[in-house]
Structure formats: structure tokens, C-alpha cells
Symmetry: C2
Subunit: 247 residues, 2 copies
Amino acid sequence: MKVALDAMGGDHAPAVNIGGAIDALRYYPKLQHLYLVGIEDVLREECKRQGLDLNDPRVSIVHAPEVIGMAEPGAKTVRKKKHSSISIAMDMVKEGKADAFVSAGNTGGAVAAATLKLRTLPGVDRAGIASALPNEYGICHILDAGANPEAKPEHLVVYAVMGTAFARGVLGVKDPKVGLMSNGEEDEKGTAFTKEAFKLLKQAPGINFVGNVEGRDLFESELDVVLCDGFVGNIMLKSIEATAKAV
Amino acid sequence: MKVALDAMGGDHAPAVNIGGAIDALRYYPKLQHLYLVGIEDVLREECKRQGLDLNDPRVSIVHAPEVIGMAEPGAKTVRKKKHSSISIAMDMVKEGKADAFVSAGNTGGAVAAATLKLRTLPGVDRAGIASALPNEYGICHILDAGANPEAKPEHLVVYAVMGTAFARGVLGVKDPKVGLMSNGEEDEKGTAFTKEAFKLLKQAPGINFVGNVEGRDLFESELDVVLCDGFVGNIMLKSIEATAKAV
């Protein structure tokens, strides 16, 4: 597998990106090639500093003169900065030069670039971000964790299908359980939005919908996918991170 | 101050309620009288078991033959069970026999009973639940933590006013800071709902609105009130509790 890495994206770029590249090359022999996409001079300097040997045939730098900052509006900036590391790395996936794209950078930018350049799968209207929460049973994904803040109920059904496919195909879960995040476990709990989503999920074929779930189910239940709109998912994820840090 | 305690409400009632009553009588000399509201026989037995002396002039049992279970739909059940501990305790506040009502029971039932019997303040359309999160600066209240899941933007403005009054009057904070929970701190982040609330809060007099906040601000910022609709607040609160437990 060939991977295009946004080497300039993130709060601590490019140091942590190059550090991650070194680890990936060391621990994943299946990684055939790693493209470090970003400002060439900066990346050469950082590779030298951290001891990443650019004569290694598995690694190369792809110059991208622009960077999308963490505070910039992602979707807008992707359209403006055609030569950003996110844009150029995503183009490599589009053109088949890379099989996958990895970024720790501007989330909105990455989602917008993926949607614009790679398009969504047939039947998928909106991209979603799956964020992994480890628990004692394995991994539960919050979906959507922020790509689509004003989701429609039918978007959640498509997330359920994609989350199920990911849990089954990538994580090897036989019959992934999908829950709907709500303000109570009873069927009648929720807002007009979640009630409509609940109805659609009940009828959707090919998914194992277990009904409404609550915060505690993220950690205490055997659950593979928790569905929510991107606004709730983003707030939930950040609150969980902040609580873990505070505790 | 005279307090009416819902002695039957909660997952571990009446044992923890009577345990709490014993502590309250011991540590709060300003507590003039504590009414234990619930099924008389059950409460007598529990008081005896835990050594709460019913000859103490500061405590008495008020018989309420019905109980609203934790899994019952709160608002509906309050209307049906006229003689529940929640209803009868709330009546005591209405009639001036008690100054305050305390319950660890069915949240929807308590909110519905308060709204039906005591009514909201002038100008307040909807009740809100303020849930206290301690942090290094003091206490930050999530408001609303679940009373009003489908809030309108203008409800959040009223919550801002009430939260400010509480922080100022009860907690002694001089100029309470009020934030709006969103999926990013930038002014333009959020949904149609939060953007409208943001606009109204910017214009509202008498509150110190600091703009959009995120999960980390709950613990890492000097912030007194975090506004959100009851759906988001409920999910956020339960996720925080679950994370703290898991960590």
C-alpha cells in the first residue's frame, strides 16, 4: 500500500508528522511507499533533524508550496489553495499514485478535499467522520464526529451502513452493533431528528440496529457504531477528550 | 429553611435518600426542617435501620402513597400519579410549607411537576436543568442538561440570564462568563440553531457572553455557564460521567 501523508497538517506539524512517518516505516512492512507531501525545504530540514533517511526507496517528498492552517475555514480554503499539502496529497489518491491519504490537519479541509476530488460512494450524500473510542470490548466509532453538523435523518442511515462495513471488513467484527445516540435508551426518547432517524434505521436492511444509546454505552456496552449528527458528535468527542484529560 | 425531600426518588431509594437526610441534618444547622416525603411505612423502616431519630423536631415524614419510577415517562406520570412523592413534595413548596424541593428521582417528573405546580418565572417559557461541573476555577454549569431537548434559540438567552443570576447570587461570582457550546470556538461555527442563539446572546443585556466554546472549556477555562439545548446537554453530561468513570 502506498500512502500520501499531509506532512504539514496539524497543531505540531511537521515534527509529529515526520515522527509518525519514521514509526510507520519501521513498524509497517506492508507500507510500500510513503509520500511526504508539503513544503520541500521544511520537510528536508525536519527529516534531517529526526534522522529520516531520504535515500530510503520507500519514502519520498512531494512538494506542496501551500499549507491550510488549523484556524482557516477548511472547505473555502481548499478551493482557494490549489497547491496545499491536503489538495496535492488528495490528488495523488485521485490519480492512483497513492492508495490512501492521511492527515492530522484541518479537518474541514480534509473532508472537503476528499469530497471534491474523490467524491462520495454511490448512494452516499454526505461524508462522515468516524472517530474511534477504545473500550473493553474493542472499538466503538462515533459517526459522525463532525463532518456534517446539520445532518438529515437519512444521512445517519448511510453512516450506519458505512460504519457496519468498516467494522466488519476492517475490524473483523462479525455482526456489528449500531446504536443511535439519544437522551435516553427508551425508544420514545429523542428529538424530532432522532425519532425520524430511529424509524428509518429500524427499517434499514443489512444493519444490526440496537436502538437508542446513551453516553455510558460508549464505554460499557458491546457497541461498534454510535450514530449522531456531526454537531453532537463533535461536542461529544471533545467533551470526552477534555474529561479524560481533566481526570 | 424548610426542605421537602423526595425520599422515594432515585435508583437507590430510599436508602441513599435517608442517608443524605441524616448528613444534611448533621451538617446544615440552617436547615430548620426536613420533610421526608414518601411511603410512610417504608420510610419509618429505613429511618430505623439507619438510626434517623423521628422524634427529632427538625424532621418529619409526609406520607405519599405513590412513587414515580425511574423508567416511567416523567411528565405523563406526574399528571396520573397525583399522590406521588414528587407531586406531594412540590405541593408543599407551592403552599409555602416548604421553601425548597430536593429529588434524586425521575428528572422529567421533577421538571414537569415544578413547571405545572410552581410555574416558571415571568419571561421564562421553558424550565432548564443546570448541572454543575467542578473545575479548577470553581463551578461551570451546563444549562440546559436535559429539560428542554428541542429548545429554541430564545430559550438559551433566558437560560443565560438565569444562569448568570444563579452564579452571581448563589455562588458569588462577580461577573459570570457565559459561553455557547458549539463545534468550534470561531464565531461562524455551529448550526442554524446555535448561530441564531449566538446573535441573540450578543445583543442580550445583562449577561457577559464570551462566544462559542468547546468541550475543553468546561474544564480549562474560567467559565460559569455553558449554554446548549437539552438534547446536547444531556448527551454531553452523560458522556462526561461515563468517561470519568471509564478513566
